[in-house]
């Protein structure tokens, strides 16, 4: 008990990190920052997986984390590529400037 990190503590930390990521995703206007926020959210979920894996003495959670990290890497590669493409065509990465969905 003492000195060891409690799984619930890790879940709370994960929740806080997820909240930061979500908050950032909703209010920041820069696409790059938004991508980073998404990474934050993904990693908070990873943290949860690890915590629960520890809690239930199961290796499945750890395994899933590896998968999520792989997918996250691919996702950020694609996302960054998209951001660069958008910057090239629209000359901006600010979501206030990019509101072409409405038109």
């Amino acid at each position: 008990m003492n000195g060891e990190i409690q799984p619930m503590m890790m879940v709370v930390v994960a929740l806080i990190v997820f909240g930061i990521g979500l908050f950032g995703l909703l209010i920041r206007k820069n696409l790059l920052i938004m991508l980073m926020c998404i990474e934050l959210m993904l990693n908070s979920v990873n943290l949860c997986f690890v915590a629960f894996s520890k809690m239930h003495q199961s290796v499945l959670g750890d395994l899933t984390v590896l998968f999520v990290m792989t997918v996250a890497a691919a996702e950020s590669a694609v996302g960054l590529g998209l951001v660069i493409a958008m910057f090239r065509t629209l000359k901006s990465v600010d979501t206030d400037q990019i509101q072409i969905l409405r038109d």
Partner: protein
């Protein structure tokens, strides 16, 4: 015994001629009347042979069991009841089959000559064979739906043939009128079928006859069936289509509108006679309507100038006679008159066709005259028909018509007023028929010079059917119905013999009056009275039902369309508009705003399920 040939032969004739016609429209080469007419006539003759063969086979069965059912295929299933496509031959349908195929073949043969110059004889003969197929279905059907199939089919064929010369809008209109008026009568048939289905549980005629119903239901069923018959058989109130139906080619008038289709009402009453005769109300309604029709249309016939219209009203009147026979509970006399009438009326129609053909489509009897010398065969056969309809002995009409007259007085359902009306109708019949005969054949010629020179007797293909029918008009009544022997003798007591004498004397008096009045006609007479216009019944129908319907439609257009439907549409538009305006606020176009909404929604759903917010809002 195999009945399928009977109906399949005309069907094949129809299909072959139909294909020939369709091919001829593609390569625009006319199929000759000889070829298509030959196919159609051979089909009908073979069908007649089949009818004869089956008739004799039926005769060999014992008297009680003269019934033969042939199931062709299962037709359809309703809740708790399956209906098969079954042909049923019994003495009644056998007689009708003989008349249809026999008179039908003669008229097909005649048509070859009559339609010789027509543009598309293959189409005409296809329709004619289709009609015969449907008519045979009508009389051979063992169930009400089967008869209804034939009933509608002959209506269709009649419509197609009345409007056969479809370039003339008047003829097309006449076809439509016949079709619509028949549809009105069909309501009666349909509702009668519903009643039979509901209360009898079967649509087979034998089942219907053997299932006793309560008296009200029996009366209703009988009256509905009779209403259907007033449409098809041109009785009051639905008789006005028949005179207009004369717009069709004359052989069509002879076959459909004199000999066969219009008698299908009598057939139906005879087929359902147990139901009809179980109710005194039904019987008296039928007798009253029949007598009124017989009398009124005889009056109208006296004032017509168109040769075919005279014959048409005469047909309506004779159908009235047949209905009176059914209405006094003596269906068999009606069927007997159907047979003799088929002979002599078909004969007169074909004779009229021969006259019209010779005079180049002239139909006004006041523009004819003196044709006795020019058209000798037509004249003498016409005289046979004339004598038959007058009821002169020994012509066929004498036996059947006098039987009806006698029964209208002597039957338990007959009465003196009924008898007197019928005698008056018979008197008028003799009058207008003699008038027709005298004006066309005996009086001095009133034809134009050009027409008179080119008048010639019709070719053999047209006169042969006339001669055969002429012989049939003479001998047709001698043997009574082939299914029913020695009827006249048994009915005729001393008063019966007196009635016979009286009716013959009356007919001769009427004929003499007509001869005196019209024998010396030299100029075109203009008749302009109310009887000539059919007592304005048509005009009344037009103004009352025609314009009435139009007015109701206009009213509906103004009220329902403007006030209800338009308003509903406007409301729908307003609702869509409003919801669009409300919801477009959410469509800001910023992906982050959408994200926000998405997360808020997710949180709401999570809150509902995880934290039990929903438990405070139980539905």
């Amino acid at each position: 015994m195999n009945l399928s040939y009977l109906i399949l032969l005309p069907l094949f004739g129809f299909l072959i001629n139909g294909v020939l016609y369709l091919r001829s429209t593609r390569n625009s080469k006319k199929v000759s009347a000889e070829l298509s007419g030959g196919i159609a006539t051979v089909a009908m003759l073979l069908s007649f042979a089949a009818a004869l063969y089956n008739f004799f086979l039926l005769r060999q069965l014992p008297a009680e069991g003269q019934l033969f059912d042939q199931m062709l295929f299962p037709w359809f299933k309703l809740a708790g009841m399956s209906v098969d496509f079954t042909l049923r031959l019994d003495p009644l349908s056998s007689v009708f089959c003989l008349v249809i195929t026999g008179v039908g073949s003669l008229i097909h043969l005649y048509s070859i000559g009559y339609m010789h110059h027509d543009a598309a004889p293959a189409k005409y003969f296809a329709y004619l064979n289709l009609f015969c197929f449907m008519m045979l279905n009508l009389v051979l059907g063992a169930t009400m739906p089967h008869v209804f199939f034939g009933w509608e089919g002959v209506g269709l064929a009649s419509y197609l043939l009345i409007g056969y010369w479809y370039h003339d809008p008047e003829k097309v209109g006449a076809g439509m009128k016949a079709f619509v008026m028949n549809r009105i009568g069909d309501i009666g048939f349909l509702v009668a079928m519903f009643i039979a289905y509901k209360f009898v549980g079967s649509l087979d005629f034998i089942q219907i006859a053997n299932t006793p119903l309560n008296p009200e239901m029996t009366t209703t069923l009988g009256l509905l069936v009779f209403f259907a018959c007033t449409g098809k058989s041109a009785q009051i109130p639905l008789f006005t289509w028949l005179p207009d139906a004369m717009a069709g080619p004359t052989p069509v008038s002879a076959l459909i509108h004199a000999a066969t289709m219009v008698t299908s009402g009598i057939y139906l009453l005879a087929r359902m006679h147990t139901t009809i005769e179980a109710s005194a109300t039904t019987l008296s309604v039928i007798a009253a309507v029949g007598a009124c029709t017989a009398f009124i249309s005889a009056v109208i016939a006296c004032a017509q100038t168109d040769i075919k219209k005279i014959l048409a009203y005469s047909t309506v009147s004779q159908l009235g006679f047949m209905f009176v026979a059914c209405g006094v509970g003596f269906t068999i006399a009606g069927v007997f008159h159907v047979m003799t009438h088929a002979f002599f009326k078909a004969l007169m129609f074909l004779g009229a066709g021969s006259v019209i053909h010779a005079l180049h489509e002239e139909q006004d009897v006041f523009k004819m005259g003196g044709l006795r010398k020019k058209l000798p065969i037509t004249f003498w056969t016409f005289v046979a028909g004339w004598a038959a309809i007058l009821g002169l002995p020994p012509f066929s009409g004498f036996f059947s018509k006098d039987e009806i007259l006698i029964q209208s007085l002597q039957s338990p359902h007959g009465s003196m007023p009924l008898f007197l009306v019928m005698m008056a109708a018979a008197f008028l019949t003799a009058f207008y028929m003699t008038r027709l005969l005298v004006l066309v054949f005996l009086s001095p010629s009133r034809m134009g010079q050009g027409v008179e020179k080119s008048v010639h007797e019709s070719p053999l293909v047209m006169t042969l059917p006339l001669m055969v029918l002429g012989v049939a008009s003479v001998v047709g009544g001698w043997f009574g119905l082939p299914i029913h022997e020695a009827h006249v003798e048994e009915a005729a007591g001393s008063s019966g013999r007196f009635i016979m004498l009286a009716s013959v004397a009356l007919a001769l008096v009427a004929a003499f009056i007509a001869y005196k009045k019209y024998g010396k006609t030299t100029k075109v007479e203009q008749v302009n009275d109310i009887a000539r216009e059919g007592f304005k019944i048509d005009a009344f129908y037009l103004s009352f039902f025609g314009n009435g319907t139009k007015n109701v439609a206009r009213w509906m257009g103004n009220l329902i369309e403007q006030q209800v439907i338009q308003r509903m549409i406007r409301w729908t538009v307003a609702i869509v508009d409003l919801s669009g305006n409300l919801l477009k606020v959410a469509q800001v176009g910023s992906s982050q705003a959408y994200l926000m909404m998405m997360f808020l929604a997710i949180f709401a759903v999570l809150a509902w399920f995880l934290f039990g917010v929903g438990q405070y809002a139980k539905f």
